[in-house]
């Protein structure tokens, strides 16, 4: 547990030191939301109806920027080899990195919510339930995203490869998160948001366990 704590605190410290990059990612997400509204036009009913989809697409597109750079510090000057010599298992390094990415994506998603409310006139009747859905969706994105980032950072054309690998895999996250967000924003008389949130939870649980097991093979070879 202390190993995980140390790995997580190292990641959070790195993210805090490179906070200018975090602001750039947030600006990218905000610009994406703005562009989506131009695609629909000034029709508030349409914008309101599509707001959950726009929010998650904005978060998904922004996530590739944060994830693709998440191994930069470890790969520069082969620092990862030093980390692997530490008396800790590789999956501890993975969970530290994935938790830091999860935190960053959750904050990014929560940060985009006020913008969605302002730009698309979306109602916000259950903000805390929405933040819960954002956290579950961010967990589903960050688990495979962190593993794929470790692979693609060492490959050619990593900016193309990461979305190519990640986007098809996280389609269930996108569908479930958009449905749950839509029900939370636009009304949920039959309490259908819960099963969609459960799908997000199952996806996240599966990938957090599977990717943690496989991470060692990715960085050790």
């Amino acid at each position: 547990m202390s190993g995980l704590g140390a790995a997580l605190s190292k990641e959070l410290m790195l993210q805090w030191r490179s906070r200018a990059q975090w602001l750039a990612v947030f600006a990218f997400g905000a610009a994406a939301l703005l562009l989506f509204s131009f695609a629909v036009g000034p029709n508030y009913e349409l914008l309101r109806g599509n707001a959950p989809g726009f929010l998650w697409l904005g978060l998904l597109l922004s996530s590739t920027l944060t994830l693709s750079e998440s191994f930069q510090a470890e790969m520069e000057h082969r620092a990862i080899e030093g980390l692997l010599l530490l008396p800790t298992a590789p999956h501890v390094l993975y969970y530290g990195k994935a938790l830091a990415n999860f935190t960053q994506l959750t904050l990014l998603g929560v940060g985009l919510v006020p913008l969605m409310v302002v730009l698309f006139d979306a109602p916000l009747p259950r903000p805390f339930a929405l933040f819960g859905v954002i956290a579950l969706g961010a967990a589903g994105l960050s688990a495979p995203g962190t593993l794929y980032a470790a692979m693609t950072f060492q490959a050619r054309a990593r900016q193309t490869l990461l979305p190519l690998l990640l986007f098809p895999l996280v389609v269930p996250v996108l569908i479930a998160a958009v449905k749950a967000t839509s029900l939370l924003l636009l009304g949920d008389p039959m309490d259908q948001a819960r099963p969609w949130a459960l799908i997000l939870l199952c996806f996240a649980a599966l990938h957090w366990s599977l990717c943690g097991v496989l991470f060692g093979r990715v960085i050790e070879d």
Binding site: P144, L147, Y148, M151, T152, Q154, A155, R156, A157, T160, L161, L164, L165, F167, P168, L169, V171, P172, L206, H207, L210, C211, L214, R217, V218, D221
Partner: protein, 242 residues
């Protein structure tokens, strides 16, 4: 008698399997196109089923084989599994691509649209792009060790979609019909369907055998140590000769 050390021996076996598959496919398609009765609601349009369903079944089989190859590579570290993994991925993608072309050709006159966002079609599209991404990953990584390990890991993760594709028509209310079986398909349609299914199966096995040989040869070349210049006198620079 054939020489067991002859490198062409495996290729000949693969061509034999391919030929057997082609013959079965020809017989099944002939029965399906000219002898099987018309379907009472769809007329002749249904006959695309005789290639669409075998492509679908065998694409899932190819990805399942790719999954086992990936798993065995990670467990044993034997590169023959990596070559088979690469071959199975490519053949699976080719069959899924064929299925995605045949399906809309049938769907337009039957459903009225080429594509519908029902669970079976959506999960199939996800499967196609997920495994295509892994092929792209293999092309962008030069180091054969990393390429084999990373693509095996990615295949194991992406394989979670394959059972979802198969069961999607049972788990959700889907526009796509249930799996074809003796309970859902009447006997006159079943003979050409099964013949073609085995035909495509043998074609798939033959293609995987051939493609994995090519992958193994490339791997052998990539992993071979460079030839020392001193042992090949013809290649020595002029100044180096005594």
């Amino acid at each position: 008698m054939t020489d067991p050390t002859d490198p062409r021996r495996g290729a000949n076996r693969a061509f034999g399997v391919l030929g057997f598959g082609a013959v079965l496919l020809l017989i099944g398609s002939t029965i399906g196109l000219f002898f099987a009765p018309k379907e009472s609601f769809m007329g002749d349009v249904y006959r695309i089923m005789y290639v669409h369903v075998p492509s679908a079944w065998n694409s899932l089989l190819a990805f399942t084989f790719a999954f086992f190859c990936a798993f065995l590579f990670l467990m044993k570290g034997d590169y023959k599994w990596d070559s088979r993994h690469e071959a199975a991925l490519e053949v699976g993608i080719a069959l899924t691509g064929l299925m995605c072309i045949q399906g809309p050709l049938w769907a337009k006159p039957t459903w009225g649209v080429y594509w519908d966002w029902d669970p079976r079609l959506t999960t199939t599209a996800v499967m196609f792009f997920a495994f295509s991404g892994i092929i792209a990953l293999r092309h962008f990584v030069e180091d054969p060790v990393k390429r084999a390990t990373w693509s095996a890991v990615a295949t194991i993760i992406a394989y979670a979609d394959v059972p979802v594709v198969y069961f999607s028509v049972r788990w959700w209310n889907s526009l796509h019909q249930m799996q074809s079986s003796p309970e859902t398909v009447s006997a006159p349609f079943l003979i050409p369907l099964r013949t073609n299914a085995f035909g495509v199966l043998f074609l798939m096995i033959g293609l995987i055998m051939l493609r994995s040989r090519i992958a193994a040869m490339r791997l052998e070349r990539e992993m071979a140590p460079p030839l020392p210049a001193a042992t090949t006198p013809g290649l020595q620079p002029q100044g180096a000769r005594s």
